[in-house]
Symmetry: C4
Subunit: 123 residues, 4 copies
Amino acid sequence: MQIGTHTWVIVDGWIPPTGTGSKPEFVSHDTVCIVNAGDADAQVELLLIFRDRDPAGPYRLTIPRMRTHHQRFNDLTEPEPVPVATDFSCVVRSDQQVVVQQTRLDSRQAENTLFSTIAYPAS
Amino acid sequence: MQIGTHTWVIVDGWIPPTGTGSKPEFVSHDTVCIVNAGDADAQVELLLIFRDRDPAGPYRLTIPRMRTHHQRFNDLTEPEPVPVATDFSCVVRSDQQVVVQQTRLDSRQAENTLFSTIAYPAS
Amino acid sequence: MQIGTHTWVIVDGWIPPTGTGSKPEFVSHDTVCIVNAGDADAQVELLLIFRDRDPAGPYRLTIPRMRTHHQRFNDLTEPEPVPVATDFSCVVRSDQQVVVQQTRLDSRQAENTLFSTIAYPAS
Amino acid sequence: MQIGTHTWVIVDGWIPPTGTGSKPEFVSHDTVCIVNAGDADAQVELLLIFRDRDPAGPYRLTIPRMRTHHQRFNDLTEPEPVPVATDFSCVVRSDQQVVVQQTRLDSRQAENTLFSTIAYPAS
């Protein structure tokens, strides 16, 4: 089973700088979700593209075969943390076919709001 | 009329563990919606892929011809219930062409929030 | 200029049965948005597919050339009103190329929530 | 690296006419996000299509190579401001390959709500 493609794009990345509610579940976050429904572990690289500085990354993840990985951008540390309140986009590259979806939880106000979209399958 | 394709992927599956508001409509839920706009009943199988355990399923649904089916993951029981507060992805396979959309209602806080996205058409 | 395709699918249609807030803007609604960026008027037909009854429609719309049309399902009346609190899907067919997006506003609780997704381009 | 395509469509454009919360972050807005992951600066034109008037534009943006640009429709001024509380669609054309996502923040009520979707890749 091979499902998906090798390159995906999230355009509207942004980590809300504040939040309300219990932690960690209501900490405002932006998330890249990646599923590997194939037979081999996937080596994944994230490249972050900004408005007024050079890109950051690659951030490296391994997604085992037949596993999913929901990664908050907030929790990435290597090679550098992702700045909050900063517009970015994310290019996801994988050596195996994967599928990618983006979800943001914004709890800056008292009642949180969510959005989610399948990312753009580039190739 | 044949509309859609045979394999679809939802990446960010997650059932919120709590909720507020009247039941059953405001019970927090994650939902897979499947429409069969064709001339034959569709036999559908859902496979759930997790972060740190082997997949669950197949969950079997029959979607009659020219009918839609909005299935809360919460309500799946065979071969096993879907755990709450647990990251998963879902691969939908159908012997007939269908179209798939995911919607989540999260009512953990006092005011609920929704998201929805067309799933990824894999093949 | 011809942009889009002729058949589109919305899977998760549902009109919330109640709402709060000023009218008409905060009346809970589910909406099909259609843009015709071409040189000829588009004749559009909507077919609604339900869970446990035969389809309704066709609902007929004309989208003039270089115009957009945001249609609340709530406001369709011919050949029959769309029932609230009822799962449906919608197949959009157009004789000209168009692009389709779905948006729902749910104001059942005091603070409304929105979702939106580009529909599935079927052919 | 060339990622994306040259023409994109957002169908459900609408700037909420009011908002609550601190400015500028909670000003209700509708946003087009564009990433240029290529080697050359992208010249981008936005055309806005309305329900009952001729289109507006082109609005011109330059997205440098390896940069992202998140543009509130609210802030466009040339050739004319974008009217609030008015249905529109947006055709994005770029001389370089780009990827486009739409996000709306609606803070008309006390607790804001968000939606986002990858735009439709037309060609």
